[in-house]
C-alpha cells in the first residue's frame, strides 16, 4: 500500500508540500454552485488546509448529506473517498465508517438544513459520541438547494426572497454543540480564509468531534441585510473570540508567538494549537462561560467567531469502546472467528 501518491505532471511554479503535492492535488471536480456562493470559499479553505497539513488525500474520507453545501465534498480532494449520504443522515454514516476504520481522517460537510432541521438528532448524537471527525456546518440560514426556505438557523426577523419574515428563534450550531457536550467548538466565516484555514487544521487534528460552524452567505437566497448570515452583516459584526493558528508537530514554531497574547493548547496527537485571544477575558476551556459569552454578544447582534470551546478530556468513540488499535475493517478473519472448538465449548452451556 503506497502511502504517498505519485505526484501528477509537474505544473511549473506550483508550490508543493512535504508530500510533493501541489494545491491542485487537493482540488476536486469543478463546482456547480452559484457564482459567489460562500460554500465555494470554504471549499478553497479546505483545499488549503489539507495541503498545509501534508495529508495524503486518499487517507481522508469526505462525508456529506444533501444540499448545496453537501455537494462541495466533490469539489475538494478528488483523491479521497467520499460519500453523499441521504439528507441529514451523514453523521450516522460517519459513525459507522469511523467505527470500521479509525485510522482515516474524517471530514464532514453539511448545511444548516442538513444538520439542524432533518439532521438535528444525528448531529447531536455524533457530538455525544465524540466521533473523531471535523464537522463543518456551512451555515447560510436557508435551504439553498430547494430554493431559499428558512432553515432552523435563520435569524428572527430575517426576510426570505419571497418577502416572508422568520419568527422562530434560530438553532445555533455552536450553542447546540456546547449544550450537547462537544469537545471542540469553533465558528468561522466563509469570507475570512485567514481565520478559517487554521480552524480547519485544528479541527482535523483534534481527536474527537470538532464542530466548525461557518457562516456562509447564500448569494442567491439569503444575502440581504436582515440576516446575520449575509456578507454585509457578518463583515460588520465580525467578532473573533480567539484566533487559532495550527502548528503541525514537525514545525514547532511556538516561540514565534507573543507569550502574553497566546494560549497554547496541546492536541491529542501532540500537536499544538495556539489560541490568540482577541477578547482578553475569554477562556475557551470554560464551557459555561462559552455559552454566556455567546449569548451576551448575540444580544448585541454580534457573532462570535474563533475557537469557542475546547476540551481534551473525554476520549473519542473508540477510546470509550476500548477498540483495538487496528482498524476493525482491517482485522483478519482468522482473528475474528472463534472456530469450531470454541463453538463446541460454548454449546456445552446450552444443554
Amino acid at each position: 500500500m503506497s502511502f504517498m501518491p505519485k505526484p501528477k505532471i509537474d505544473h511549473r511554479g506550483l508550490k508543493r508540500n512535504e508530500l510533493g503535492l501541489s494545491l491542485h492535488d487537493y482540488e476536486g471536480v469543478a463546482s456547480t454552485l452559484c457564482a459567489g456562493c460562500g460554500h465555494d470559499s470554504i471549499t478553497a479553505a479546505i483545499v488549503q488546509a489539507f495541503f498545509e497539513l501534508n495529508m495524503p488525500p486518499h487517507k481522508v474520507v469526505k462525508m456529506s448529506g444533501i444540499g448545496c453545501s453537501s455537494k462541495t465534498t466533490a469539489y475538494f480532494l478528488a483523491g479521497a473517498h467520499g460519500i453523499n449520504a441521504v439528507h441529514g443522515r451523514m453523521p450516522s454514516v460517519a459513525s459507522g465508517a469511523n467505527a470500521a476504520n479509525r485510522d482515516l481522517t474524517f471530514v464532514g460537510v453539511s448545511g444548516d438544513g442538513d444538520s439542524l432541521s432533518i439532521g438535528l438528532g444525528q448531529f447531536a448524537h455524533a457530538i455525544r459520541r465524540n466521533l473523531d471527525m471535523l464537522y463543518i456546518v456551512e451555515n447560510n440560514g436557508v435551504y439553498g438547494l430547494t430554493k431559499g426556505q428558512f432553515s432552523a438557523s435563520a435569524d428572527v426577523g430575517s426576510k426570505a426572497k419571497k418577502g416572508e419574515t422568520n419568527l422562530n428563534p434560530p438553532i445555533d450550531p455552536v450553542k447546540t454543540g456546547i449544550a450537547m457536550g462537544a469537545s471542540f467548538v469553533a465558528r468561522g466565516f466563509s469570507g475570512d480564509k485567514s481565520q478559517l484555514v487554521p480552524l480547519i487544521k485544528a479541527g482535523v487534528r483534534h481527536r474527537g468531534f470538532a464542530l466548525l460552524d461557518v457562516l456562509s452567505p447564500c448569494v442567491t437566497f439569503n444575502d440581504h441585510e436582515a440576516s446575520t448570515k449575509s456578507y454585509a452583516h457578518t463583515r460588520q459584526y465580525f467578532h473573533p473570540a480567539v484566533h487559532a493558528d495550527f502548528i503541525p508537530p514537525s514545525e514547532e514554531i511556538r516561540a514565534s508567538y507573543d507569550e502574553g497574547e497566546a494560549m497554547p493548547v496541546e492536541l491529542h496527537d501532540g500537536s499544538i494549537i495556539v489560541l490568540r485571544k482577541t477578547d482578553p477575558d475569554y477562556d475557551p476551556t470554560d464551557r459555561a462561560r462559552a455559552f454566556s459569552y455567546l449569548m451576551e454578544h448575540q444580544n448585541c447582534g454580534q457573532v462570535v467567531t474563533g475557537l469557542l470551546y475546547f476540551s481534551g478530556e473525554s476520549g473519542d468513540m473508540h477510546a470509550r469502546n476500548k477498540s483495538t488499535a487496528t482498524p476493525l475493517a482491517d482485522l483478519d478473519y482468522e482473528q475474528l472467528c472463534p472456530g469450531s472448538h470454541a463453538l463446541a465449548e460454548l454449546q456445552k452451556g446450552m444443554r
Binding site: 486518499h58 449520504a85 450516522s92 476504520n101 482515516l104 444525528q122 447531536a124 459520541r129 469450531s340
Partner: protein, 606 residues
Amino acid sequence: MSGRAKSKLNDFVIKLGTVNGTGSASANALVMKTIFRMGVPVVGKNLFPSNIQGLPTWYEIRVSRQGYMARSGEIDVMVAMNAQTYAADLAEVSAGGVLIYDSTWPRHRDLSRSDITILGIPLAAMCNERFENARARILMKNMAYVGALAALLDLDMEVLRGLIEEQFASKKKLIGANMEAIELGFDYAHQHFQCPLRTRVQALDKTAGHIMIDGNSAAALGCVYAGATVGAWYPITPSTSLMDGFKAFSERFRVDAETGERDFCIIQAEDELAAIGMVIGASWMGARAFTPTSGPGISLMSEFIGFAYYAEIPAVLFDVQRVGPSTGMPTRTQQSDIILCAYASHGDTRHVLLFPADPHECFELAVAAFDLADRLQTPVFVLSDLDIGMNDWMIPRLEWDDSYRPDRGKILEGEALQNVEKFYRYLDVDGDGIPYRTRPGDLAKGAYFVRGSGHNKFGGYTEDSEEYQEVLDRLLKKWETAKKLLPDPVVRRTRKPTATAIISVGSCDGAVREAMDRLAAKGIYLNYMRVRAFPFGRKVERFIAAHEHIYVVEQNRDAQLRALLINETAAAKENLESILHYQGLPMDYRCIVEHIERQVARGEVA
C-alpha cells in the same frame, strides 16, 4: 386423581400462568431443561405482555417425543399461579387435562370444571412458613411449583438438582434454599396426590447432539462467526436480545485478555435511521456490519435502504418480526414485514431476503447473509420473528467448518487494484451485474464518490437519461445473479405422488410438518416446500410448476408471501390458495389441517 386424565407419556403441553417480574421465568426454564436433559424433546414458548412488571405472563412447554416444535393447541397441564387470569386459564385446559393452582387462597366455587383434574397446592402458605424474607417468599413459590411438577410429571430429581447447582454455582448458598423449596412442592404433591400423573415424562435419548437456544442468540453467534465487527442498533422488542447476544459472545471471544482491547464495536444508535446509516458507513469501509430491528425499525430505515440498494453498499439487517401494523403487539409474533422488506424504499428497489425457520437456520443464514451482502453489494434482510427469535428451541448442535472463509465479493485492493488500468466503480466487468468496489484508505487509485443521486457506470454524477437507465438496468442483471446464489428451498415430498402441495416460510415450518403428518394419517398427501430466500430461484419455480394446487401458509393477513410468489415467479394465481394465521401467537397445525380437510371435503382439492 381423576380417571378422566388421558395418558400422555412424553407428549403433552404444560402451560404456566404467572405474573411478570416475579421470577417465574427461571423456574419455567428449569422444568424445560430438566425434561430436555432427560432426553425428551421440548420447546418453550414465552407469551409475555408488553410491560415490565405486574401483568399476566405465560410459558408453554411442549413435550414431544416425536420432536414436534410447534404449539399443539392443547393444554394438558396448566399451572395457574395468577389469580387474575385464573378463570381464563381454567377455561383453556383441554378436556382430560390437569390444573394446578395455589390453594393458599380459596378459589371461587364457580371456577371449576368437571372434565379436568384440579390440584390445589398451598404454595404461598408453605413458602411463607418456611422462608423469612419477602423476596425469597416470592421467588421460592416458583421453585415450589417446580417441585410439585417434578413429582407429578416424574421428573428426574437428580437432573433437576444438577441444574440448580449449575445455576447457582457462583452463589452456592442459594442451592440449599432452592432445593428446599423444590422439595416442599415435591413432598406436598407426593403426600396429597397419586404421583406421577399419567401425563408424564419418561427418559429417552432423543436430545443427544442437541442444544436449547433462541433464534436471536443463534443469529448473534452467526454474526460473530461471519466476522462481523460493527453492530449498530436501537433497542426494540423482539430484536433486542440479538444485540445482547452479539455483545456477550464478542466479549467472550473478541476481547484481548491482556489489554482488554476489543475487536468489535457496538453502537447503540439514537434511532433506527442512524443504526442503518452506521451499518452502511461501516460496510462501505469494508467491515462486516449489521443491525437487528423489528417492523417499525424497517419502516424508519426505508430511505437508507434505497440508498444502499442504489449505491450498492452491503448491509445486513435482521428483522425479528412482531405483530403490526404500527406499534401493534410488540410481544407477539407475525410474518407481516415480507412485502415491506422485499420492496423497501421509494423508486424501483428490490431486496434480497432470507427466511430462517429455527435458530439453527438463524445461525447459518446469518453467516450466509454477510457473504451474500458482500457478494451482491446490496442490503440483505434476515426475516426472523418473535417466535424464532425469543423462544427456546431445541436444535441439533451447531457445527462450524474451520475451512470456511468469508466471501467478501468483488473488492479490488492492493496489487490487484494497482494493476487495473483505471478503476470505475459501477462498471459491469464480468457480465454478472456486479461491479467492483474498493476500500477507503487503500490506494489512491481506488478513490471514488458514493452517491444516492443519479450516477453513471463510471461513478460520475449524471442527470442523463441513458446513463441513468444503464445503471438501473444493470441492477436487474444483478438481481438475476442473486437468484443463482441464494439458499435453495427445503422440499419434503410425501410418500405418494400428488399434485397438491404446501408452500410456507420461516416459523410456520413446525406447524406445517405436523399438519402434514396428521393429514397423511387421514389419507391426505401433500408435498411441501419451504422457501428460504427471495428472489426465488429455479427450484422454487420448478416446484410450483410441478403442482396444480398449492396452499400457501403464512402468518399475516394480507398473504404477503403469496403476493411475492405471484409477482416474482411464473406461478398461476389461481393455483395458490392462502392459509393465513395472524393472531400473534405462534401457529399450530390445526388451522392448516382444518382448512385443507374442509377443502378436501368440498372436493376442491386432493
